[in-house]
């Protein structure tokens, strides 16, 4: 399988590879802070799954979690850290590169199918 170009492959971040983690990080990247319930509703996952995902991202230093109260109700807020923002940017750039490389490869194949077997 040597479909890739000769240059070094883009580096995907393993911590952001899972779709839920990526969606979570991308959502948080476009806001300052988001409440637990908002994230749960957007990602359409259970409380426990979101809690585990946030804990995992918090361990890697990508997300900071803050607990507080609004009146008597406990509220949990999550925010993407600077490290998380950089990691997300790199991850998205890597994804872009993969997609662009595939597009270029498809274009090359369409241009010269007779050379594909070489």
């Amino acid at each position: 399988m040597s479909g890739r170009a000769g240059d070094s492959p883009p580096t995907l971040d393993r911590e952001l590879h899972h779709p839920t983690r990526l969606a979570l990080a991308a959502y948080l990247s476009a806001c300052g802070e988001a409440e637990f319930a908002v994230l749960r509703d957007y990602c359409q996952i259970s409380d426990s799954t979101l809690s585990k995902t946030l804990s995992a991202l918090e361990k890697t230093g990508y997300v900071s979690v803050r607990k507080g109260y609004l009146g008597k109700r406990p509220r949990t807020w999550a925010a993407l850290t600077l490290t998380g923002r950089r990691a997300l940017t790199r991850h998205l750039a890597a994804l872009e590169e993969i997609a662009a490389t595939a597009r270029r490869a498809a274009g090359t194949c369409a241009d010269g199918p007779s050379e594909a077997g070489g």
Binding site: A26, Y27, L28, A30, C31, E33, A34, A37
Partner: protein, 159 residues
């Protein structure tokens, strides 16, 4: 080749495209949530607190007899103002992020015009009345600007 017979690179590229689309959709959703209008009571409260606070600071200079109390009242109003900014920003579960790439935009008037007008009003009052005049005029003008923003149609809010 993978289990479905598709070349791996093609599958990776499709997954990459899907992931990019999902990330883009998540960002758009967050921007929409963070950029929606907040209830106007936050802007009204901020405007009143700002006006009262700066007026108290200005009067503290003009009325030294009540200076301590007026300064304390001004500080209390400042705390109230920042508390309202904080609570308003967190209303609805998503706070806005400063973004260069899109999101709801505020009008030029809101971004530049209104603050410059309030500073100008303060500067005009400072000519005859000094720092106290600047403080009172700037506070009242900014408070009025907040009230106007609360009751006029708007494109977004900092609350």
């Amino acid at each position: 080749m993978n289990d479905t017979g598709e070349p791996m690179d093609a599958l990776d590229a499709r997954r990459a495209q899907d992931a990019l689309a999902a990330a883009c959709a998540a960002r758009s959703a967050a921007r929409r949530a963070g950029g929606r209008d907040r209830p106007r009571r936050y802007l009204v409260g901020q405007g009143l607190a700002f006006a009262a606070g700066f007026t108290a600071f200005g009067l503290a200079d003009l009325l030294p007899r009540y200076g301590t109390w007026l300064t304390l009242a001004g500080l209390a109003c400042a705390v109230g103002f920042f508390a309202l900014v904080w609570i308003g920003a967190h209303h609805g579960g998503v706070t806005r992020w400063f973004s260069r790439d899109g999101g709801p935009r505020r009008s030029t008037w809101e971004l530049w015009g209104a603050p410059l007008v309030t500073i100008g009003v303060g500067a005009l009052a400072a000519v005859p009345y000094g720092v106290a005049g600047w403080s009172i005029a700037f506070g009242l003008a900014t408070g009025a600007e907040h009230l106007l923003r609360a009751f006029l149609p708007r494109q977004g809010s900092t609350a």
